[in-house]
Symmetry: C2
Subunit: 238 residues, 2 copies
DNA sequence: TAAATTAACTTGTATATACAATTAGAAAAT
DNA sequence: ATTTTCTAATTGTATATACAAGTTAATTTA
């Protein structure tokens, strides 16, 4: 089986501009080059440029104003936790440290959260890992991630200490998170969470159950995230 | 000042198809008419139809499969609470009752949540209301809504008992929520929440602080929502 | 000087067209 | 009967073009 690596040009334009915003080549508050400029810059036509910009608008990187131009809003903060990808992008890598509680290992699905698994997924088993994540050296996130054990060579031997799981899935396995569904609830910290977060009995904690869809059909990533929102609330755009 | 009520045709196509999905004229699991069929149906060209479908894909009403067609997924459940609009669409109107705690009234901004207000907003004052919302006769949501007091005739005299605030803003004032930002945290129920939700001291409750952007420049709707997630968790797609 | 007009530039909408890539089913070959 | 091949239909990508609508700044006019 060969992968068609053909990348559409609107995608290239999108990736390039996005990268420039992330690298602050295009700074927040400034105007993006006009659509026509981008056309000549990337040698494509306006509908193509506009398709790229549409995606950037949807994801909150830019805002458009008719007659004026496209204003860079910068990398959307907190886009991660409430929309896509992981917690890394929600905080910014500078302040985030990760401690592996359970290294990635193959095991049976210990529990299916609230999402029902397909027979196929059940048979495969899953790669299971637990991480505790610190923001400014305070434990804020505790997350369990479960991925169907489907042909991810070398996956369990990779280091996840300071990398985003989703970056690894994307770069090494061409797996991209496309969207998903999640549940959010508030609950009291149980024994384990009390220990991890260093809080007292009954402390309110936020829980997210997430099922993430990928660009591979029927391949889902499951995670359960607990957050101590005492100092750091979850922030997101919608 | 006159409003240009010109509605683009891709928008009409979008609204019509969306309505048909909501009314189950297009049933979940079935195929939408092909893009070319929709073209002749609405007398527009394919890019126009595709723009409408793009929006429906983004909002989770349909899924597209190259070579196959567009499959109706139905009205996205829970899209409301974690993305756009209010709580109404998250649950379905059947089971949702609303009790007005504080009728819409003009007052000063009692507090600015965690969002900072512009000078303009401060001067205007706000329309303030509090509602308690029941799902299957159990109180689940308690929300405070604050809207800048900007020329919304008859607004305070309207009934919000069983209507969505956002439906009213849209239908009567042509104000549409375009997106926004929110914070989510877990906290202990205070006296008021204990009373409203009928829970004990220290009960974990979910809190959302939201600032919603509209199609009117610099017009934001603010709300603070408290949820008892004991029986009904917040559900959302992303 | 101040106001009104104009022009240039920007994004928004829409059409018409062409070909690529994928799917599903029919037709043909084995 | 089974497999392979082909064909039609469908969505994906891309170009070229035109005009509408909003913004800004220069120009003209009073």
């Amino acid at each position: 089986m060969t992968f068609s690596t053909r990348i559409p040009s609107y995608r290239k334009v999108y990736e390039t501009i996005r990268k420039h915003i992330q690298d602050e080549l295009y700074k927040p508050g400034t105007l993006l080059p006009s659509e026509n400029d981008l056309c000549t810059l990337y040698n494509v036509t306006r509908p193509t440029v506009r398709k790229a910009l549409d995606a950037l608008v949807n994801e909150g990187f830019i805002k458009k104003h008719q007659g004026k131009g496209s204003i860079v809003t910068g990398v959307p903060k907190g886009i991660g936790i409430l929309s896509i990808t992981g917690t890394t992008s929600a905080i910014g890598k500078e302040n985030l440290k990760t401690k592996i509680i359970v290294k990635p290992e193959v095991r049976n699905w210990s529990f299916a959260f609230t999402f029902s698994l397909s027979e196929f997924e059940k048979e495969l088993g899953c790669i299971y890992m637990e991480r505790l994540r610190y923001v400014n050296n305070k434990p804020v996130f505790y997350d369990i991630t479960m991925i169907p054990n489907l042909n991810l060579p070398r996956f369990t031997s990779r280091s996840f200490e300071n990398k985003s799981l989703f970056d690894i899935l994307r770069k090494h396995y061409q797996i991209e998170i496309k969207g998903g569904e999640q549940q959010i609830l508030a609950l009291r910290a149980d024994k384990k969470l009390q220990e991890y977060f260093g809080v007292h009995k009954g402390h309110p904690v936020l829980q997210l159950n997430r099922r993430m869809e990928t660009n591979r059909l029927n391949f889902f990533v499951y995670s359960q995230v607990f957050c101590n929102t005492d100092e750091y609330v979850l922030y997101g755009r919608f």
